[in-house]
């Protein structure tokens, strides 16, 4: 069963309520999902793990509604992203959740030369761009899969990637020249 595809495990859960099949899905996806949520929560590990747990609960409750037309992981990231947004609204009810804003605060940090530098840079990106970057570069998802996962138009994904990529690259290149 450990080598079964995600779709096969989901089918088993829906048909027989097999909890061990769901446990396999949790073990298989826990690390990338928790990493995704850590990136969204700016490395708040405890909050990210709580959100990851909630994501898996929601996925289990509504697993029968998983149509199988998209990848299971895309469906899981959609639940995680919506769970995060709801949590964000609860925690900061008066904060503007403008996902389209573009932050230009890169002057405060030095050029990225290591992974941790890059993580710091990524944490300064607007919320949705952070999600798009993570799903594209770290999870290897296509533009179409990201659009489905975050429920945004395909053009938005492309422009988020292009704008974020340009901003980060310009900053890094400038810092390297100065160095």
């Amino acid at each position: 069963m450990a080598t079964d595809s995600d779709a096969a495990l989901v089918a088993r859960i829906v048909a027989t309520g097999d909890r061990s099949a769901f446990e396999l899905l949790v073990r298989r996806h826990q690390s990338p999902l928790r990493n995704f949520l850590r990136r969204l929560t700016k490395n708040d590990a405890a909050r990210a793990d709580d959100l990851a747990q909630e994501t898996f609960f929601k996925a289990y409750r509504s697993i029968a509604s998983f149509a199988g037309t998209a990848k299971f992981s895309s469906w899981l990231y959609r639940i995680a992203y919506n769970t995060f947004l709801n949590d964000q609204r609860t925690r900061f009810p008066h904060a503007e959740l403008d996902e389209s804003q573009h932050v230009s605060v890169f002057n405060d940090i030095e050029g990225a030369s290591t992974q941790s530098d890059l993580e710091r840079l990524l944490s300064l990106l607007p919320l949705r761009q952070r999600a798009v970057f993570d799903l594209h570069y770290k999870k290897g998802m296509t533009h179409q899969e990201i659009a489905q996962a975050l429920e945004v138009p395909l053009g938005t994904v492309k422009s988020d990637l292009a704008r974020g990529h340009d901003a980060l690259r310009k900053h890094v290149t400038a810092q390297k020249r100065l160095a």
Binding site: V26, R27, Q30, R34, F57
Partner: protein
């Protein structure tokens, strides 16, 4: 693409660290809600067992009950059947209406 761009792209695409499970999956499974999917196997066995028990009871008790009824009942057999059917339908119905 110059060297800086390539270096930056390499950084972006570098694989993220694998987070150790450290009891996370176990914690999720412990707190997993019981859904109708989770109850399904038990429900299936309950239905099968009840049906088997009902069939066995009918097979074993039908004849003695018929003898007892014919010996003591004042009503004719068709009337008894109608009363029995009415009870079989009305009692569960009354229970459902009462519990809802």
């Amino acid at each position: 693409m110059n060297n800086a761009d390539l270096e930056f792209d390499r950084l972006l695409r570098s694989p993220e660290s694998e987070l150790a499970d450290a009891g996370f999956s176990e914690s999720v499974m412990k707190r997993l809600p019981v859904t109708r999917w989770g109850r399904m196997p038990m429900r299936r066995w309950t239905l099968t067992g009840t049906a088997a028990l009902g069939s066995l009871s009918t097979y074993l008790l039908a004849e003695p009950i018929e003898h007892a009824l014919s010996a003591y009942a004042m009503l004719p057999a068709p009337a008894i059947t109608i009363v029995a059917l009415a009870l079989v339908v009305s009692l569960p119905l009354a229970w459902i209406l009462y519990t809802e």
